[in-house]
Amino acid sequence: MARSEVLPAISRRGWRVAARRYAHLPLLAPSVVASIAVFWVCMAVLITISVYPFLPGPARFTWAAWQRFLGDPFYWSVVGVTLRLGAVVTVLSLLIGYPTAYAMSKIRRPGWALAAYLILFAPILVSVVVRTYGWLLLLSQTGAVNYVLRTLGLIQTPIPLIFNMTGIVIAMVHILLPFMVFPILSVVGQLTPDLKEAAQDLGANRWQTFRRVTLPLTLPGVVSGAQIVFTLTISAFVTPFLMGGGRVQILSGLIYRDMEAVNLGFAAVVALVLLVLAMAILAVSNQLVRRSYVRAEVSGA
């Protein structure tokens, strides 16, 4: 009698233990299935198609697309232009974004701070296509920037600001600036005034305080902002394509051209080159950060 009462209790407890131990599996299932069946299979498809192009004709193994990319100096020059664009946009975003974040952290009135946030943050909500179109309007030969420069007598004939690298850089900096400002802002906001006061008490001037105290402490924000901006710049398509007007060739434009021409194997190769570049840059910059921390610890000890 007593036994039959105990047994179900034990088995129920055993069931509950098992349910607890494996409860994460049903929770993970939807995301795991979706992520593997779509994203990871996609990546496998991309690699496969770069050596097994099935259009046009039947699929057979060939390195032709890879040989075409790696063997042609033109494609290497496109890689060069892409990386240079990434570097220029990142450096400019940093030079503009750092003082912006610093100034935003110094705003004392909550209302003004909120307004600054709103102005910096709201453009993200407006489509990239719309913002790029805005720059096309502003920078065209008959646009407002050339009008102002001519009215001020700074130039005689309108200067070409679109369909070249200048236009791409201006619009890209505008689109990516928030992604540089926010990571920096989140570390600048955590700075406590006592370290700066200590530095100044020890006789450091403003520049020395900034250089030796503020800058090293905000470096993690700078690095993560720079990583985001660089990787987003080299893989951006809409803005470089519209602002470049087909006259500046970068990797994403090559991909678009080859997709339009249903040149899937070659498009896959360019996409993989872009992916490898993005990953390499993340890996190298993470390594640099780690090393600089180690050095800081060593010199601090």
Binding site: V41, V45, L125, T142, G143, T231, I234, L242
Partner: protein, 272 residues
């Protein structure tokens, strides 16, 4: 020290003001050109009219595209929130073999350039004969929005008070009741923010969608992109006035309801 007395501070604030003007300039000019009387970009516009709004309302393709975008964004957001909450619960509340690997599996799409993923997705859809439908678009967008939902919701769950959940369970609540009555109210902000991000990311997705669309399933940003390539008359500017108006309302609501510190942290984390 009052603002303005300190020269460095003054320079900083003047610089900030210039940057904010720079941020607003292109959007402001789109608004001006929507009311221009001519089809080309000239400053100052020779006259003002509402003819581009009239022409806008004759563009059936843009409205169909807007409807497609809405369907795709709502679906991608809904699935991201559901699947993302479950996955984040498992990642934060359970210790199991391969947890870190799984996190990497989930977050990897953030590293892959979207245009590269777009190429892969197009070929995959072609192989599965699902090319040209909204379903392939929803899945493609889901791959971009799900990592955001998982990372934001994981961060929110880490911050949530676990002892409350344990107390509820000790008092006899089932896991489901505990989740519904104790956990869910604590992650409400995380859900709102990740839903918001997922929607915006999907709504403004060009690179991922570009190769997946045919005439019938074009999304709004893709349709606008193609329109701009065909002609640059201010129809897109007229359309943009509505999009900008919605964005401003959304931004004001977001800034007013979400704690600025949270917003800052999330923007810093969610660069992509």
């Amino acid at each position: 020290m009052r603002p303005g007395r300190d020269p460095v501070r003054t320079v900083l604030f003047v610089f900030l003001a210039l940057v904010l003007i720079f941020m607003l300039a292109p959007i402001g000019f789109v608004l001006v050109y929507a009311f221009s009387s001519v089809s080309y970009a000239i400053f100052p516009p020779p006259g003002y009219s509402i003819r581009w709004f009239v022409k806008l309302f004759q563009q059936e393709a843009l409205f169909r595209a807007a409807l497609n975008s809405l369907i795709v964004a709502v679906a991608a957001t809904g699935i991201s929130l559901l699947a993302g909450t479950l996955a984040a619960l498992a990642l934060v509340r359970y210790r199991f073999f391969g947890r870190e690997l799984l996190r990497a599996v989930f977050l990897a799409p953030l590293i892959v350039p979207r245009i590269a993923f777009g190429v892969a997705m197009m070929i995959y859809a072609l192989l599965l004969r699902r090319f040209g439908g909204l379903d392939s678009l929803i899945l493609a967008h889901l791959m971009v929005t799900l990592p955001f939902a998982i990372s934001i919701l994981s961060a929110t769950l880490v911050a949530a008070d676990r002892s409350l959940e344990e107390a509820a369970m000790d008092l006899g609540a089932t896991p489901l009741v505990t989740f519904w009555k104790v956990t869910l109210p604590q992650i409400r902000t995380g859900l709102a923010v990740s839903g918001f991000f997922a929607f915006i990311i999907s709504w403004d997705q060009v690179e991922t969608s570009l190769f997946l669309v045919k005439t019938a399933n074009k999304t709004l940003p893709v349709e606008m992109f193609y329109y701009l390539q065909r002609q640059q008359d201010p129809v897109i500017a007229a359309l943009s006035t509505f999009l900008i108006a919605v964005a401003v309302i959304v931004a004001v609501v977001a800034v007013a309801t979400v704690n600025p510190r949270d917003l800052q942290r999330l923007l810093a984390a969610g660069g992509r």
